[in-house]
Symmetry: C2
């Protein structure tokens, strides 16, 4: 890897970090199909084209850059997402897309320099709406790509202001009219993704490259708490059926649940909560809240789930509210195939990069892709584990090590590794 | 009071209840300066004009109907508000305005029939934005009228979609260009208001007319809870500073505070709570919530306040969040002048209506008016005390008794009662 390559990556990275930049901070606000998302997509398409890629969008707005080295051959796909949470860090997702573009560019250069013809073509992807903050659910682009969600349902999804995915993509000219792979006539050989860890174990243990071998188990709930509207001043306390009180008890219970288990064995969260009618003098009649349980252990998830259900029974009885599950979604600890982990380990060894196996707590687009093609998932460290925060940071040396490592992975995948 | 008068009131009341009616329910959704608010205002103006009133709007959109019986004399003003909470009852406020119009119409008829010239003129008022659900604060119209709020500040207030009071009133043609009283050249002699109780004590005790003698003491807080954005999956629980957890602890603490006092001595509530960034995978960095303490006893309010502040200290320390008071507003138990209560008692006696003194927990426009002119405040019963709810109800016989009683009050005020 040359200094020139590293300089080129850091220069493009610096430009990219300006799209949706939040003034006075190091972070970005670049939700899916926002104006800032459109600007970066246009810039990214130009960048790819300047390096010989052809750029396509599929019908859910996933952005692909194709580098055809062997006419008609299957593609090694690599990428992540460029959309962000509101007021978030500039590394989450975006680093993976930019690293993928540069890894493909370098791999192609190396192949040309060596006079080698690879077995597979190379492609970069910027998945649409991985974050799920503006349009739900998250991982929308890779869900549709892998057939886990229906295209039409995804396009009809509305943001809180009533704008559909279809309308938002059309406003940016980012909705394509055909598949790029599958019905689009191209085949996939394998997939690779690199991402910042969003946790602090790698940094603490001096690990530069995380070989992601599994996703934590999770149980995610969309709860509705139903009470009854009442005057919040004059109604006797005993007469109230306060949906916000019921919801607050769940938020507190979720935090207290963590202490029933060994440290690090259970993460719980409620990040989204909406109150109706949300007026200063009205007892709330309905609250919707999203509540998650996550654990490396299926047993812990099951025990936490049982405890949460007992809390719900008690809150319903004592606070006279009804708590319903609008939707729930759960998965066991979800492994990445061992062959991909081993391939990533070999590349790290060959480059002399400190590496270790690591589980991911968060889901990634690779969680979808690993179910349809051989997949490699990689992490680089996050400083202090800070993520979904304007101050998210990864050091330049780790960014560059990740690009070098991913280039090695792409080279092997292009040569046919994992394909048989 | 004739059957004809009663029939006329109930007929107009039935028409009025259709403005903003929520289909399939008995209630309404008619927030301040909404389209439905505009429709009822236009209809109400026509109703008043058909009975000889002249209709004016002042600069904050208070709607006045003037019945000049004695050129140049001061006015007895009577009214309430026609705006509602979202999905609320049809009686709250609206009953008071409709009862006031009919009481003035009857009082004027009786005066004409008796050949009497009163000492004062009569006027009806529909105060703008008493509820405060769309535009804060509540009681905006009577606040500005009585000089407790600045006109320009009120007009610049925005709803959650960014629309200002000025824009919303202008869209309806409901913003006047001058004062109607004071700088408008007219004097006020006294004020009367009738309202549904929004509690259940009168119904339980068989009281038809409530002689309102005081408002409960209250302490209202606008809190901001500040934490730090983080990934709600991968961030270690010990590293989190979760603003929503802190806010939920306050909501639960407010309810538990009630149990520290004798039943009925403390009402607490949080009806409005807003989360930022309110995304499923982000630990909230900021939550705003409105929290109220109300009591008939200043000592209870003070003790509850002290206890709440101790809870805040504990939550800040244990959950590592910052809790700030953006605004707070408090008042002691706030009496209505005894002369008005006695006048209302005499009228109830003369009509043979069951009556008793009653405190109001909720604030009313009369809370503002009693500080500037002699005021009478009246209640009729609410079935089961249900209010700010689509099923709010008051029986026809109580509605009619209230109109009859208010007519008697208006007659005495027009003759000069309380004026000296």
């Amino acid at each position: 890897m040359t200094q020139q390559h590293d300089d080129a990556f850091l220069a493009d990275w610096a430009v990219h970090s300006r799209f949706g930049a939040v003034p006075g901070t190091n972070g970005v606000d670049r939700q899916a199909a926002s104006a800032a998302d459109g600007e970066q997509r246009a810039w990214f398409a130009e960048l790819l084209e300047s390096h010989g890629f052809t750029v396509h969008r599929d019908r859910i707005g996933n952005q692909f850059g194709l580098l055809e080295l062997v006419p008609g051959a299957p593609y090694v796909l690599t990428g992540s997402h460029m959309d962000s949470q509101p007021t978030a860090g500039r590394f989450d997702g975006a680093y993976g897309v930019m690293a993928s573009a540069h890894a493909c560019i370098r791999a192609a250069e190396e192949l040309r320099a060596a006079g080698e013809t690879p077995r597979h073509n190379l492609a970069v992807v910027n998945w649409f709406n991985e974050e799920g903050s503006r349009f739900k659910p998250s991982m929308m682009g890779s869900n549709v790509f892998t057939g886990k969600s229906e295209l039409e349902e995804a396009l009809a999804t509305r943001d809180p202001r009533g704008v559909t995915v279809r309308e938002a993509l059309d406003a940016l000219g980012e909705r394509g009219d055909a598949d790029v792979f599958a019905a689009g006539g191209r085949e996939l050989a394998s997939y690779a993704e690199i991402h910042v860890q969003q946790g602090r174990s790698m940094e603490e243990e001096g690990v530069t490259i995380g070989l992601v071998n599994a996703t934590w188990a999770a149980h995610k709930f969309d709860f509705v708490v139903r009470g009854e509207q009442a005057h919040s001043g004059s109604t006797l306390m005993a007469d109230r059926r306060d949906a916000l009180l019921g919801a607050a008890r769940l938020v507190v219970a979720a935090r207290e649940l963590v202490d029933e288990f060994e440290p690090g064995q259970l993460h719980t969260a409620c990040g989204e909560l909406n109150v109706y009618p949300n007026s200063p003098v009205v007892v709330a009649s309905e609250v919707r809240l999203l509540l998650d349980l996550r654990s490396p252990s299926a047993e812990v998830i099951a025990a936490a789930h049982a405890s949460l259900m007992r809390t719900i029974e008690r809150v319903q009885r004592e606070d006279r509210v009804e708590i319903g599950i609008v939707a729930e979604h759960s998965w066991d600890q979800n492994p990445y195939a061992e062959a991909g982990v081993e391939l990533a380990r070999e590349v790290a060894e060959s480059l002399g990069l400190a590496h270790d196996r690591v589980m991911t707590v968060a889901g990634h687009d690779s969680t979808n892709m690993k179910d349809v093609v051989p997949t490699v998932m990689l992490f680089v460290p996050s400083v202090n584990g800070v993520s979904h925060n304007l101050d998210e940071h990864t050091r330049d040396e780790d960014l560059l090590a990740g690009v070098a490592h991913l280039t090695g992975v792409i080279r092997r995948l292009a040569a046919g590794a994992l394909a048989d």
